[in-house]
């Protein structure tokens, strides 16, 4: 294990050195006229009501300041904190804190804690002033304001490591985008017997809980998997992933990607993920699709079985002057282990209407009908700055 750790450390050093050597004579840019600090970010307040006997309505709020510092034209530091309050719970998380090397023309090298480019929602669409609905699609859990709910396939992934993004512009506005990353990866989180947390209890077999940006926990009998830096790494194995995309201007994007990691102490159990994401935009319309599949090895009755989880969502929206109606169908399919049902499917249809007070200030109203459970109404006022 120590041998692998040394190799990983060596890899980081080699890549960093390669980036520095490939950018000669950049030092004169440090502290130059392009240097600056920018404070940006977003916030929201959300009101939720449900026809659940144990829940009537509630306010939540979130604030996510972003700090950007451009050191010359080649280096960039960026970070985002997320603060959320919901009832008696106040959450804080570091969504990303990364250093980017921008000296190459086609490549950006990123080190630190970053949003893993697995899918599009987590990397780009989840900020509340950008997300067209007050909540996240079901496969990502209803993460909003830094608080995730159960039933998701994955949380929004944020992890520590190294990432490289490559872009090759093609003719007629087309371009190829490639991203690859090596991060600390997930780890097994030991079950705590009967002393489960409220979130763990809620999700039962195969459920997922998390803060939406770090850990996710497969509860009870199934070994839990935690992503991100909320836990120390339990082995030397790293998550390796890549995403390939084809993009044409603002009109069309399609991405496919996947990752692999081993998450137990002995590095015997694999977790694999794959996704397909598409986005089509016309002048006023946008159609979006994302699907995720996850395979997780679990020790089940003295054998290693595979827990399969998958989900997708499709979303359509249309801008009518300052109004934007949104329709989303979200489906987390039944998961199983060797044919045994691990968790039931979840189907939800969401209808939303956004009024854009300004380009970065949406006022959203949405109704979410869960075909297997409770229905919810959300009103959200978000602000991007």
């Amino acid at each position: 294990m120590k041998h692998r750790a040394k190799h990983s450390a060596l890899l980081l050093v080699v890549l960093t050195a390669a980036a520095m050597l490939a950018a000669p004579a950049r030092a004169q840019n440090l502290g130059g006229p392009l240097s600056d600090v920018v404070i940006s970010g977003y916030g929201n307040v959300t009101w939720q009501a449900a026809d659940d006997a144990d829940f009537t309505n509630d306010f939540t709020a979130g604030f996510s300041p972003v700090l950007l510092y451009s050191l010359g034209s080649d280096f960039m530091f960026e970070s985002e904190l997320e603060f959320g309050v919901s009832g008696e719970v106040t959450t804080t998380s570091l969504e990303y804190a990364q250093i980017d090397y921008l000296g190459f023309n086609n490549v950006v090298v990123t080190a630190g804690k970053f949003l893993v480019p697995f899918g599009l929602f987590g990397e780009r669409y989840h900020p509340t002033w950008i997300n067209k609905l007050p909540t996240a699609p079901g496969l990502y859990g209803h993460a909003h304001g830094g608080v995730a709910e159960g039933g998701a396939v994955l949380p929004v992934l944020s992890d520590v490591g190294l990432m490289v993004k490559y872009r090759k512009p093609l003719d007629s506005g087309w371009g190829v985008n490639l991203a690859a990353w090596a991060t600390q990866g997930p780890r097994a989180v030991a079950a705590e017997g009967d002393d489960h947390t409220e979130e763990e209890e809620a999700h039962k077999l195969g459920g997922i809980a998390g803060d939406g940006h770090g850990e996710s926990v497969l509860a009870t009998e199934i070994p839990a998997v935690g992503f991100g830096v909320s836990f120390p790494d339990n082995n030397s194995n790293k998550m390796l992933g890549a995403r390939l995309g084809l993009v044409k201007g603002p009109k069309f994007e399609i991405y496919a990607g996947g990752f692999h990691a081993r998450y137990d102490d002995n590095e015997d159990l694999d977790v694999l993920g794959s996704h397909l994401s598409m986005d089509f935009r016309s002048n006023d319309y946008e159609l979006r699709f994302e699907g995720v599949m996850l395979w997780q090895d679990v020790e089940h009755e003295a054998a290693i079985e595979v827990l399969r989880r998958k989900g997708y969502y499709a979303q359509a929206s249309r801008r009518i002057r300052a109004w934007e109606p949104v329709l989303q169908w979200s489906h987390v399919l039944e998961s199983d282990i060797d044919g045994s049902v691990a968790s039931e499917e979840q189907r939800e249809i969401s209808v939303g209407l956004t009024y854009w007070l300004e380009a970065s200030i949406p006022l959203k109203l949405s109704y979410h009908a869960d075909l297997e459970g409770d229905n919810h109404v959300f009103v959200q006022w978000a602000y991007g700055f």
Binding site: L34, V38, S70, D100, W356, G384
Partner: protein, 253 residues
Amino acid sequence: MKRILFLAVLLTGIAAPTRAQDQSAVAEGARLWAANCTRCHNARSPAERTDRQWTTIANHMRARANMTRTETERIIAYLQAINLPPATVSSVAVPIRAGFTAQTATAGNITGSVRTDSGVESISVSEVTPSAATTGRVVVVKMVDKSTAQWRFEPATVTVRPGDTIRWIQEDIVPHNVEFRDVPESASLGDATMGPYVIAKGDVYELEIDQRFVDGLYNYVCTPHEPLGMRASFTVDASAENADVRQGVPSNR
């Protein structure tokens, strides 16, 4: 471990260190801005940030949106080229020069600034020369965005006669311009092929239908917002009856 090294070698191998800078490619920057920034969110007004801040933000978005350095530099060039302070006077913009310039002027005296490749120049001209023939009529076309990503010219089609003037009025805060795409073969628009950016609300860009224009259909766009549907056209028709502005808002000079 081999997988990691293979991946690293592959990706670092295709990284060609280059600092190609083409600050004059602002038009391309406008298109890139529309093509990349609006993939995730509404377009923000360039006036929201300073030039230096846009550099930092563009670098931040480069990492997020997966853009090349050249693309990012062109977007920065575009944002900085049009990031002029809003007009402080009731103003009329006059297209003194083609390219990426913008200015504001009072009805009788130009007082404002012009953005050129070398920076912002303060100007003061004692008298504004009308850019349109006094015998023609003025057709008003609004440049609309309403801060909600509804990019359009209103109306999208008009008919004019030689001697008329088309006046594009900035209705909001996101800069727009007029760039001709398809014009009659014998038309010779010269510098007017791409007009200046109209920056502040109430500013206008006027184009006289003079000898450069022949009868026919002229399709034009707003350069940065063309991918978002900001396209329109006008028809020059010398035989149109009653000076005829069949659409648009006639206005007395």
